[in-house]
Each structure stands twice: as structure tokens, then as C-alpha cells.
């Protein structure tokens, strides 16, 4: 207790936290004082030693990590909880959504999903002229950034071309905000090149949007899916109870023997430990904290337990494959040597099969098992490569890189992002970027993200920060956006600013407790 008291005292007086960050940190401290969900001794050891990792979600989960309310249904039926009637025009619809966002929880304390805003608002936009539409959307976008200051907050656009979507892209280029994060769903038939081009030009200005393969996502998740936080794709009306990740680098280090025995024995044991921790956390959330029994979102039919599953994350694939190759006397590395890369694919495939055979409680949203996720790092990761990507700074040329990572994508229904880092030649030839996006999707890539060398924005593990904000944080110690604080750690630990130009890295993130 003395430690609890002194840490609470420190937080109360911390000069580097805003009021809201302070409240959140105090809540996190209180949650930590409770006993974590019970697991076996082997699982507890795996957690303590970092073989499995719950991303500091907290000892007593009391809200799902990611939840995706059905905003469309809310707009149609209105809300008793919010005491709002169904909106009848654009102004009312925007006010409705902004009110609703303030009452949607997630692991970060802010909503991680704002809906497919173009589809939600397009029907209300028919009656307003362009100037009014731009003014209303600008106010909405500025309000989102100022009131939900967290880059894990995520809005979706596409796959169809809409006035609202085009307006949002134009505003993104004008406002240059890190919030909200943004995804464009791209469908080979439905999304016109001109919209993808518009989005690519927006990337040049502010690093957004991220692009997802709509055909692949719909096949895995159905048409009602959303992309939230850092490229986690999940069902609308549902979400993910938790995200627990298996450190494949550590897993391979613990193995003695050849590749076959790793895949047959060691890997399944470690998958089981990760799943055990997930099951314990899910039960704690659903059966002890009883989130689904006392959420207004559930009461009003905007969320339902049967649309939920949980995310089984993996990371450190590169080190895992390299360790196994070296143990067999080889020297090839994942992403550079064809055999080592193929071994990486085999490991992912094996994990996917194991996860698909491991039942988890309250995961009816994915037929009783977890969604596989390529978890691309948090700020504290050192010497282990995020997700299934090739280590930063060693990426091969883009054409080789895409073909090396693409075969992994089909396994990750809940997301895997690869960040392509480009220089200024892209700005003079945006169609080339469109070609890369279309090609990536044609060869089976699910997620594609870009970073441009020369603008002020940088993607950390999947979310955006401004380089100028990081510099300011270093000088003053205070950040308005919680995600900036995480980013400062990530830059210091993993050299994300060293990314080779025109090289791909992928990114995912965990917001942890927000500070």
C-alpha cells in the first residue's frame, strides 16, 4: 500500500499530465491494485517473462479492448440513453454522433471506432450545398481532434465514392491533424481510381488514410466490418474483448531441436499459454465485470456479445524464423533469403491452424475462436520486430518486399499492416502509388499504409504523430495527445525514424493505459 500511495501521489502532482490523462492514470493504478485473472503457473511465468503479453490492458478488464458500435442503427432509431431522437438533417446527425462518441468506451478511454463516416452521413448531405457540407464537416473533424485527443480513434471511408468522403479527404489535407486515424476501404470494382488518387494525395499531406482490401475483409468478416485503432479489423456491432500477443522471438529461443519439432511441440505449447491468458481475461470481462449486462450500447442493440471475439496477436516472426534457421546451421534471414522467408510463412500458417483449433469463451463473433492478428509493436519493444514484418532498415526493395510479406496477409482477419515508406518522387507520380495499392491487393495483401519522408507526420506503430509535436514534448514534457507520449518512447527504442526510404514496415499498436 505505501507504494500505491506514493505512486498515486506522484500522479496527482505529475507536471507532464493533462487533467484527463491524470484521471486515466489514477484509474489504471487502482485497477492494478486488484488481483489479475487467475491462470496456471506456466501461464503466469510466460506473462512475467514476456513470452506472452497482455499489453498492460489492466488487471481487471471492465470494458472490451475494442468495440465497434453500430452507429447506423443508432442514427435510425435514436437513443434513449442519449435522450436524442433520430436526426433529420446533417447538423443533427453530426451532433448525434459527437454526443455518442463521448459515451463510447474502449481500452484507451476514448472510442477507437467512429464509424464509416461517409456512409453514415451521405444520406443527410444530399440537402446541403458544398460550402455548408465543408463547414459542418470541418467543425466535426476539429471537434473530434480536440475532444478525443488520441490517434487510436479511427474513422473509415469507402469503398464507394461519396461527397462526404471527398470532403473529409480535402479537410484532412487542410487541417493536418493526427486525429482521427483514417482508413479507406478499396474495392477493385467499386472504388474508382480518382478516389484512390485523392486519398494518395492526402497521404502526401498527412500520412492518412490507411488502405484496406475490401473484398478480403468482407469475405472474412462480412460487409459490416470496421477498421479501428491501429489497423484492427473487426465486426461492427461487436469487437474484440482483448488482445494478447505471443512473442515468437522468445518462443524460438526457448526451443531446443529442429524446425519440425518446433512446429509440432514447442509452438503449440506456447499458443496454448497465450490462449489461456486470453480465456481468463475474456471470462473476467464478461462473467465478473459483466460489461455486457450493464452497457447502454448493448441495451439499445448497438453492440451484441455474439458479434465479439478476441484477438490473438503474434510478433517477432523475423527473429523466430532466423533463430530456427541458425539452429539448423543456416545463415539466411527472413525477408532476404527465400527459404527463411518461406519458413516464416510456414510458422504463420501453423499458428493460424492452431488458433483456429483452440476454442475460446464468448467468441461467437468468430465461431468460438480468436481472430489472428499481426501485432506490430508497442513503444517499449526492443530488439524484436513488430508483427510479421521484415526488420526496420533491412527491408529489401519494394517489389521484393511486397512479395515477401503478402502471403502472410490471408491469415490475419483482424489485421496486419505494412507501412511503405516513400520519398518525394511519389509526389510527382501519385498514380504509381495507386498502382502499388491495387497490385498489393491483387496479390492478396489485406492492409497497405504509407509514410512520406518529407511531411511532418510519422507513423509509429500504426498511429500517427507529428514530428513537431514530438520535438515539443521533448522540450516541454507536456502533450495534448496521449498517443504522443507513447510515440516518444517508440522513437527512442526502435529507431522508427530510421526507416529506409521506399521500404516497407508494418505496424500495429497497443494503447495500453494511454500514458
Amino acid at each position: 500500500m505505501p507504494e500505491f500511495t506514493s505512486r498515486a501521489r506522484q500522479l496527482v502532482a505529475s507536471p507532464s499530465l493533462t487533467y484527463r490523462q491524470r484521471v486515466q492514470a489514477l484509474a489504471g493504478l487502482a485497477e492494478e491494485s486488484l488481483d489479475p485473472p487467475k491462470v496456471s503457473a506456466a501461464c503466469a511465468e510466460a506473462l512475467a517473462s514476456g513470452l506472452v503479453d497482455d499489453l498492460a490492458e489492466g488487471h481487471a478488464p471492465y470494458r472490451p479492448r475494442y468495440l465497434l458500435p453500430d452507429y447506423r442503427l443508432a442514427l435510425v432509431q435514436g437513443s434513449e440513453f442519449l435522450q436524442l431522437d433520430p436526426p433529420t438533417d446533417l447538423h443533427e446527425a453530426v451532433a448525434f454522433l459527437l454526443s455518442m462518441y463521448s459515451q463510447v468506451p474502449s481500452i484507451t478511454g476514448y472510442p477507437v471506432y467512429l464509424g464509416d463516416v461517409d456512409r453514415l452521413l451521405e444520406p443527410y448531405a444530399a440537402d446541403v450545398d458544398d460550402a455548408t457540407l465543408t463547414k459542418v464537416m470541418r467543425l466535426m473533424w476539429v471537434t473530434i481532434d480536440r475532444s478525443l485527443p488520441d490517434a487510436f480513434t479511427h474513422a473509415n471511408l469507402g469503398p464507394d465514392d461519396t461527397r462526404v468522403g471527398r470532403t473529409i479527404l480535402a479537410l484532412e489535407r487542410e487541417l493536418l491533424q493526427t486525429v482521427p486515424n483514417l482508413t479507406l476501404r478499396v474495392d477493385a470494382d467499386r472504388t474508382p481510381d480518382s478516389l484512390v488518387l485523392d486519398a494518395v494525395r492526402t497521404v502526401f499531406a498527412c500520412g492518412k488514410p490507411h488502405f484496406v482490401n475490401h473484398a478480403m475483409m468482407s469475405a472474412d468478416l462480412g460487409n459490416d466490418y470496421g477498421v479501428v485503432s491501429c489497423y484492427n479489423s473487426l465486426k461492427v456491432g461487436g469487437g474484440s474483448h482483448t488482445l494478447v500477443r505471443l512473442n515468437l522471438a522468445e518462443s524460438a529461443k526457448r526451443h531446443t531441436g529442429d524446425v519440425e519439432s518446433y512446429l509440432a511441440t514447442t509452438l503449440p505449447e506456447h499458443v496454448e499459454l497465450n490462449a489461456e491468458l486470453m480465456a481468463a481475461r475474456i471470462r473476467s470481462l464478461v462473467e465478473e465485470a459483466r460489461f455486457f449486462d450493464h452497457s447502454w450500447l448493448v441495451d439499445e442493440g448497438l453492440l451484441s456479445l455474439d458479434r465479439f471475439s478476441a484477438m490473438f496477436g503474434i510478433f517477432g516472426l523475423a527473429e523466430c524464423a532466423n533463430t530456427l534457421v541458425a539452429a539448423a546451421g543456416g545463415s539466411g534471414t527472413y525477408g532476404h533469403d527465400a527459404d527463411a522467408t518461406a519458413l516464416g510463412w510456414r510458422i504463420v500458417e501453423r499458428v493460424a491452424d492452431l488458433v483456429a483449433e483452440t476454442p475460446l469463451p464468448h467468441c461467437e463473433g468468430n465461431d468460438g475462436v480468436a481472430f489472428l492478428h499481426s501485432q506490430s509493436g508497442i513503444d517499449s519493444d526492443v530488439d524484436v520486430t513488430a508483427g510479421t514484418r521484415i526488420p526496420i532498415g533491412t527491408e529489401p526493395p519494394l517489389h521484393e518486399h511486397l512479395l515477401a510479406v503478402a502471403p502472410n496477409h490471408k491469415h490475419f482477419a483482424s489485421g496486419v499492416s505494412d507501412i511503405l515508406h516513400f520519398d518525394d518522387t511519389a509526389v510527382r507520380n501519385p498514380q504509381a502509388v495507386v498502382d502499388v495499392i491495387r497490385g498489393a491487393m491483387a496479390v492478396g495483401m489485406r492492409d497497405v499504409t504509407f509514410n512520406l519522408d518529407s511531411n511532418d507526420f510519422i507513423r509509429i506503430t500504426g498511429y500517427l504523430v507529428r514530428k513537431s509535436d514530438l520535438a515539443k514534448l521533448e522540450q516541454t514534457g507536456v502533450a495534448r495527445h496521449g498517443s504522443d507520449v507513447l510515440a516518444a518512447g517508440s522513437v527512442a527504442n526502435s529507431h522508427v525514424t530510421d526507416r529506409a526510404v521506399k521500404r516497407v514496415i508494418s505496424a500495429e499498436s497497443s494503447p495500453g493505459l494511454g500514458v
Binding site: L403, R428, N429, A432, D435, V436, R438, G439
Partner: protein, 250 residues
């Protein structure tokens, strides 16, 4: 010089200087760029002087099938294929066979086929190439014949003839003007060039490229790179007649 009738379409081999599988500076979109070895100009300001000799141990002999196989691997990511050099038209038979094979392969038929040329090619060459070519990006080193000779070692009659023919047939995708300070950067010459292009190649995009010394031969390293302001001025002088919307400055 039409291909001999007994030779199968895939028979010609090419002498290859380099391959760039994803190029963003050799035409529209992401392109597979094939750099052929050997040039018929001797340009002072050439950025790839190693591609100039007609034969060198550095170059490799490639077949059409080898290139098509490789293009097939990357086809989903591409807008097209550009054959450059050196001077691509010096290996016209190879280019014709390559383009025909790309057209006939279902995995690559959607790709556009472009040639990057110095324009020093006669009508027989264009007769062979144009039905298989979507566009030609043509370098005009100088409108002034004396300056052209000073910069390339050759006069510009064939280049201007090619420019007219390609424009007439709707195959001129872009005209490139490499502006070398002290040689072809005078306001008068660039304004005249703009006027010439506006009448001989109306509606065709013009890329004005300010000289940069990296990669060039020793003799050209002393030439200063133009400042940003000078580049903008070059563009403006050309654009006065051509129209700003058609002019890009790099």
C-alpha cells in the same frame, strides 16, 4: 529493316544495361523499366554514361522470354513497361519482339508499353515500333542545331522529324527538355522551343529538367546545377507558349 520472316518472334536478344522493376520516373504510374545498352548520341550531360557504349562487359544478353517472365511476376503492381537506354530504338527488333510478347501474354497485355527515346531514329524504326507502342517520351536536347551538336555530337534533324511524326500519330506522350546551364538555358532559346512545341506538338506535356551533376562524366561535373529559381524560370519561358498546365519542372 523488318525482322526476317524465318525468325520466331522470341528469337531476338537484347543487350541490357539495367532493370528497374518499380520505376516512378519513367512514365505514367509504376513502371517496369528496361534500360538497353548503347546510344547513338554522345551527350555531355548524360546521367547514365555507362549505358552509352554499344558493347561493354557490364551489359548482359537477355531474351524476350526472360524479360516477359520477370514482368509477369510484377504485373499486378504496374501501369506498364518502359524501354529506355542507352537508346532503345537502336535495338528496335528486340523492342518489337518484347512488346509483341507483352501484348500477347494474358498476364501482361493490360500494361501500357512506352519507349524513352532521344528521337534519333528513322521512319523505318518507327514503322516497326509504333503499332505496338502506346507512347514515346522524347528528349529534345536543343531546338538549335548548333547547340544540339555541341551537346550530343549530332544534329537534330532526325529528332525534329521524329517529333513531328510521333505527334501526328498521337504517340508523343511527353517531350523532355534537359536544360544545361551555359549551353541551352538562354531565355530566347527556351521561349522559341516553347513556341515550336506549341505548334508541332500541341497538347503534349513537356517536362523541363534542370541539369544535376550526379552520375555524369568528369567533363560535365564542373557545370553548375541551376538554382530552384532558375528552374522555375526555365519552366515559365517554355510555358509562355505551351501553357503552364502542360509543363512540369523538376
Amino acid at each position: 529493316m523488318p525482322p526476317s520472316p524465318e525468325a520466331p518472334a522470341s528469337a531476338p536478344t537484347g543487350l541490357l544495361a539495367d532493370l528497374v522493376r518499380f520505376s516512378w520516373v519513367d512514365g505514367p504510374g509504376n513502371r517496369y523499366a528496361v534500360f538497353l545498352q548503347g546510344c547513338n548520341f554522345d551527350c555531355l550531360a548524360c546521367h547514365n554514361p555507362h549505358t552509352m557504349p554499344r558493347s561493354t562487359p557490364r551489359a548482359t544478353v537477355v531474351t524476350v522470354a526472360e524479360i516477359v517472365d520477370d514482368v509477369r511476376t510484377y504485373a499486378p503492381f504496374l501501369s506498364g513497361v518502359t524501354v529506355s537506354g542507352g537508346e532503345a530504338t537502336l535495338q528496335a527488333r528486340f523492342v518489337v519482339a518484347l512488346f509483341a510478347a507483352l501484348r500477347d501474354d494474358p498476364a501482361t497485355s493490360r500494361l501500357t508499353r512506352f519507349v524513352d527515346s532521344n528521337g534519333c531514329a528513322d521512319d523505318e524504326v518507327w514503322d516497326l515500333l509504333l503499332s505496338l507502342t502506346d507512347g514515346v517520351m522524347l528528349d529534345l536536347k536543343s531546338l538549335d542545331v548548333d547547340v544540339h551538336r555541341e551537346l550530343t555530337g549530332t544534329d537534330n534533324r532526325a529528332v525534329l522529324h521524329s517529333l513531328d511524326r510521333l505527334a501526328d500519330e498521337g504517340k508523343l506522350a511527353e517531350v523532355r527538355l534537359l536544360v544545361v546551364p551555359g549551353h541551352n538555358d538562354s531565355e530566347g532559346l527556351l521561349r522559341r522551343t516553347g513556341v515550336y512545341l506549341a505548334s508541332h506538338a500541341p497538347g503534349v506535356p513537356v517536362k523541363v529538367i534542370g541539369f544535376r551533376p550526379h552520375g555524369v562524366r568528369a567533363a560535365a561535373r564542373e557545370i553548375p546545377a541551376p538554382t530552384d529559381e532558375e528552374r522555375v524560370a526555365y519552366g515559365a519561358w517554355v510555358a509562355a507558349a505551351v501553357g503552364a498546365e502542360l509543363v512540369t519542372v523538376v
